[in-house]
Chain length 229, copies 2
């Protein structure tokens, strides 16, 4: 029985304008800062690192004893996770999927999610949303300067933003991924939810952001400079 | 005809642990940084500043020529905005409501929202959400270490996080506030939507955060240090 982390680090960094995982964050790359956390916590036994083809060589040079395999990712994030799942060792019973671009995760957060998943089968970390969330009518108009019509405002106190790690009993996640062709999902938990399996949310942190835009990198640098997470 | 900004600065700063509006942010207070923007843009004619009773004296000493009135806020954010609305001059026809704790707004954002509201009657600024948003079953369990059951995952590409300013034709906002006793809303636009009036979303920025938690202050300081917004 072992708990394996699949670190998804094969993104395209489209909104960053440069490959974000190898950017410097206080003397370490974004990806190294992520890996340090999974190396440090004793609840993770092994790491499968999923990267872009062009990053395989430098990824293999990373010295973290828990990285047992470096795998090439797929076109979409879920293809990458899927490749990681195929590489799982037989003894794995718990799988923690984490974005390589969330370097501000902490061992405590990982441990909380793993403990919950061992209990319930499926757990994700997240935080209550801060802003009011509105549903718009037409997603084709995203990110333009044209006004977009608001369809409705959602009840804020019922909404949480999902982060990673998202941790699952292996069998549940494998079954969810078998069905993934049918389902379009923006995170792994969504696939599990669609199966009808209960997923629980545990407390992440507001610092545990995914580095997506240049503002996120500024935030992460500031948090690292302060010596905190 | 004039465009009046109501700056809501009467919050309790519960999650910050200290009054956030008078915290230093690169040599100016959070509130001053907000006011500078509304002072600078020529689309705003006048500012009504709504503060807590204990902040009235120091707020009156702020030297921004557009601040015509300093008003005492109410118990909830909407009570504060309501007090601001009662103080509107007769010539006002457009009202821009803005959180005092959003100092990273820019003149361009304010101008975009005002222009759209002049066209459509009601406009808010916002950004597409980055994380997957999940609806939970029981909002009583927020912010605990207990796992919370996820009810469902929302379609991310249709979701935007609303920011401020939220700008309205005066008559529309007044009518929405007359109905507010019936409606529990987390932002002003929601009251207007409930009236059945169309509200449009225009592009804000990911930097235009509301300073709510200590992480937000770290982020704002980093943005200010970089000299950008």
């Amino acid at each position: 029985m072992s708990t394996v982390a699949i670190i998804s680090a094969a993104g395209l960094s489209k909104r960053m304008g440069q490959p974000k995982l190898f950017l410097d964050l206080g003397g370490q790359t974004v990806l190294e800062r992520t890996l340090v956390v999974f190396q440090a916590t004793k609840v993770i036994d092994e790491i499968i690192l999923v990267v872009n083809q062009e990053d395989v060589e430098r990824s293999k040079k990373l010295s973290f004893s828990k990285i047992k395999q470096v795998i090439i990712g797929g076109q979409e994030r879920q293809d990458s996770v899927c490749n990681g799942l195929k590489a799982l060792p037989t003894e794995a019973d718990i799988v923690a999927v984490h974005d390589g671009a969330r370097p501000l995760v902490t061992p405590a957060i990982v441990e909380r999610a793993v403990a919950e998943a061992k209990k319930t089968g499926a757990a994700v970390v997240g935080m209550p949303v801060k802003d009011t969330i509105k549903q718009i009518t037409n997603d084709e108009l995203r990110m333009t300067n044209e006004g977009i019509t608001i369809l409705k405002t959602l009840e804020r106190k019922q909404l949480w933003q999902a982060q990673t790690p998202q941790v699952f009993k292996k069998d549940i996640l494998l079954k969810a991924y078998e069905a993934k062709g049918i389902v379009k999902a923006t995170d792994d938990a969504m696939l599990v939810e669609k199966l009808g399996h209960k997923v629980t949310m545990v407390l992440g942190s507001y610092a545990n952001i995914k580095i997506t835009t240049p503002e996120d990198l500024i935030f992460a640098q500031a948090i690292v400079d302060k010596g905190g997470k």
